[in-house]
């Protein structure tokens, strides 16, 4: 049943790379670019919010920081090839990570409550700064980026492939994390931070590292977004809705998993585009988003993928009839119900 992960990854990459060659229409390619952006950001959020259990509410601030970093760098410039902003992405990521580092260092000394407080306050501060620092950001009049000199017929393609690269980078990083000491440390922090510290996990270092990498990636996505839009306003560049989207997608798909955030992004972002056309008003989808979020947390707190995996495991076990009971949860990130499942026999699937 389980495909080897290498094969799964290969199929995924081939699918992503070949998708634009099917002669897709512009609106669909545009949708894909946004899905990829959110998939990347959710995967990034997952690194700290999913694995370590520190729910950051301020990631949107770093999205905006990335957007404005790129805007500042290319202020009043004309591009020769149009690929220069993409080459600057690593620098943007570094800027995001460097700003995130002290914030993580200060706010992660205590527990998740204070961390959330600092990150949400930081979000508001960055938004206010984006409005007030007219010289840097243009204030509420917005800031212009250089117009990408790509042919109209293939305008989306460069953005699409850059986002594919960023997503694969982030997923690769997640994959590597899950199989390394860092990943194990993060999961142990989420399970019980005191005990983790007690057995010698370098909790502060690992948390701060995860946060910095996570916000660095978010800043890069912000930069790509800014270049794609080519004109940015503070209320869209630093938007709490971006934070909530990242969190929501991760939770829907399954936090602490490799594929969960991507699945969540595919479902929700395409859903949101449909909703926007259907409902129009921004406020309405604020309500829809919030309600959806509440429903997911209450009814499906572990997300789609872990729930499905549980069901499958349950079914396999019931088929094997009386298998030995000593079964460990496969994914240490999920406090599994596996031990109770054996006795119940699993008729639910």
């Amino acid at each position: 049943m389980r495909l080897p992960s290498a094969l799964r990854g290969g199929v995924f990459v081939a699918l992503l790379v070949s998708m634009p060659m099917l002669g897709l229409q512009h609106w669909f390619l545009n949708l894909l670019v946004f899905v990829l952006m959110y998939a990347t950001m959710s995967s990034a959020w997952n690194l700290v919010g999913g694995f370590a259990g520190y729910p950051s509410l301020g990631h949107a601030a770093f999205f905006g920081i990335g957007a404005y970093t790129l805007a500042l760098f290319f202020k009043d410039q004309v591009l020769a090839t149009g690929y220069e902003p993409f080459l600057l992405l690593p620098v943007v990521g570094l800027v995001g990570a460097l700003i995130g580092w002290p914030i993580a260092l200060i706010s992660m000394r205590t527990r998740a409550d204070v961390f959330a407080i600092v990150t949400i306050t930081f979000l508001f501060v960055v938004q206010t700064l984006a409005f007030n620092l007219h010289d840097l950001t243009g204030g509420s009049q917005g800031a212009a980026l250089p117009i990408p000199p790509f042919a109209a017929g293939q305008y989306e393609l460069p953005f699409y492939y850059v986002m594919v690269a960023l997503l694969l980078f982030t997923m690769g990083l997640t994959f590597a994390t899950m199989r390394s000491k860092v990943g194990l440390s993060l999961v142990s922090i989420r399970a019980d931070e005191d005990k983790a510290r007690g057995v010698g996990v370098r909790v502060i270092g690992v948390k701060v590292l995860a946060f910095s990498v996570s916000v660095g990636i978010t800043a890069m996505v912000g930069a790509v977004w800014a270049y794609y839009e080519s004109f940015i306003y503070p209320q869209f560049a630093v938007d709490p809705l971006i934070t909530i989207a990242m969190v929501l997608m991760t939770f829907l798909g399954g936090r602490g998993t490799l594929w969960g955030p991507v699945l969540g992004a595919v479902i929700l972002e395409s859903g949101q585009q449909v909703l926007t056309y259907q409902l129009g008003a921004v406020q309405l989808y604020l309500i829809v988003y919030a309600l959806l979020f509440l429903v997911i947390i209450l009814l499906l707190p572990r997300g789609i993928l872990p729930t499905i995996e549980d069901r499958l495991r349950q079914r396999r076990r019931s088929r094997r009839t009386e298998a030995p009971a000593a079964v460990w949860p496969e994914d240490p990130a999920i406090p599994s119900k596996a031990d109770t499942v054996t006795t119940r026999g699993g008729g639910a699937a």
Partner: protein
């Protein structure tokens, strides 16, 4: 010097309202260990309610306080029962943050759909009158807002220190396990406590609506201030929140008067960072248990 003293006066008067909002927030944290990110949204919602009562019935916002307070108390209890109680215990602190954030957005969305996103303000007949005392301006609204906030805070303290319910709350804050062992119904204390927090938000919201123009999005501004205040006072400490509110609003008024209004909005963030660096448990917070 004149500007400075004027700033201090303004800061103390405004501090009363923030103290009211923050005391509810810190109370909720003390009882349930939940950081209520919807507190700001509840304040703004109450402001809209009294705006509506004022425009349709001509009811003075100060008189509307009992009505908004009762309504929001009910809402608070409902939110606790519906959304916070079902959370599983092991990741409650993490999920409750997200749940209250979602509730804040839900309230923002409902307010925007109902009243639109333009600024509203409650223009009473006394909105622009003020007294002059030795050359310092004191606006009538701010004065009464301060007095009423003190009255509401007094009521809250009476409730916490002199009633049976208050004793149950204080016991839960200090040690939930022991309180349960001694027969305190923790579930009901949580629900009523969350309602009480929402009620203080409502009282403060009616007053806030008189002092400032507001939009549904104003709650971001409020929540960051409130959180800084609550962290400075010590999470869970009501007395600490009151003192911290006065400190934060006075220093931000001083910055506005002496440096620039634009930077005064940053004051609370600077204070928040300083607190976390120097004394992470806040002025009156204890490291493990709550304090009232």
């Amino acid at each position: 010097m004149h500007a400075l003293i004027q700033g201090v006066i303004l800061g103390i008067l405004t501090g009363g309202v923030y103290a009211l909002m923050a005391s509810g927030q810190t109370l909720i944290f003390g009882i349930m260990k939940v950081v209520n990110l919807a507190q700001g949204a509840m304040v703004i919602m109450a402001a809209y309610l009294s705006y509506q009562l004022f425009t349709t019935f001509g009811m003075d916002p100060f008189l509307a306080i009992p009505i908004t307070t009762l309504l929001m108390f009910g809402l608070g209890v409902g939110v606790e029962l519906l959304f916070l109680r079902p959370l599983r215990r092991e990741d409650k602190s993490e999920l409750s943050l997200l749940v209250t954030f979602a509730i804040a957005l839900l309230i923002e969305g409902v307010l925007s759909v109902t009243w639109g996103t333009t600024y509203r303000s409650i223009n009473t007949t006394y909105a622009n009158s003020s007294w002059t005392l030795w050359g310092y301006q004191i606006t009538v609204v701010r004065f009464w807002a301060f007095v009423l906030s003190l009255v509401a805070l007094g009521l809250l303290f009476w409730l916490l220190n002199r009633t049976r319910f208050g004793r149950a709350v204080r016991a839960t804050v200090q040690n939930p396990e022991s309180a349960r062992l001694l027969g305190v119904e923790a579930q009901w204390v949580s629900a009523l406590g969350f309602g009480l927090g929402a009620a203080t938000a409502a009282a403060a919201g009616s007053i806030y609506g008189l002092l400032y123009p507001f939009t549904p999005g104003s709650h971001y501004d409020l929540i960051s201030r409130l959180l800084s205040i609550v962290v400075l006072g010590g999470l869970g400490s009501v007395g600490g929140a009151v003192i911290a509110a006065v400190i934060v609003s006075t220093s931000s008024a001083i910055v506005a008067a002496t440096i620039s209004p634009a930077w005064s909005e940053m004051t609370f963030f600077v204070i928040l960072i300083l607190v976390l660096l120097i004394r992470p448990q806040g002025l009156f917070g204890s490291v493990n248990r709550g304090a009232i």
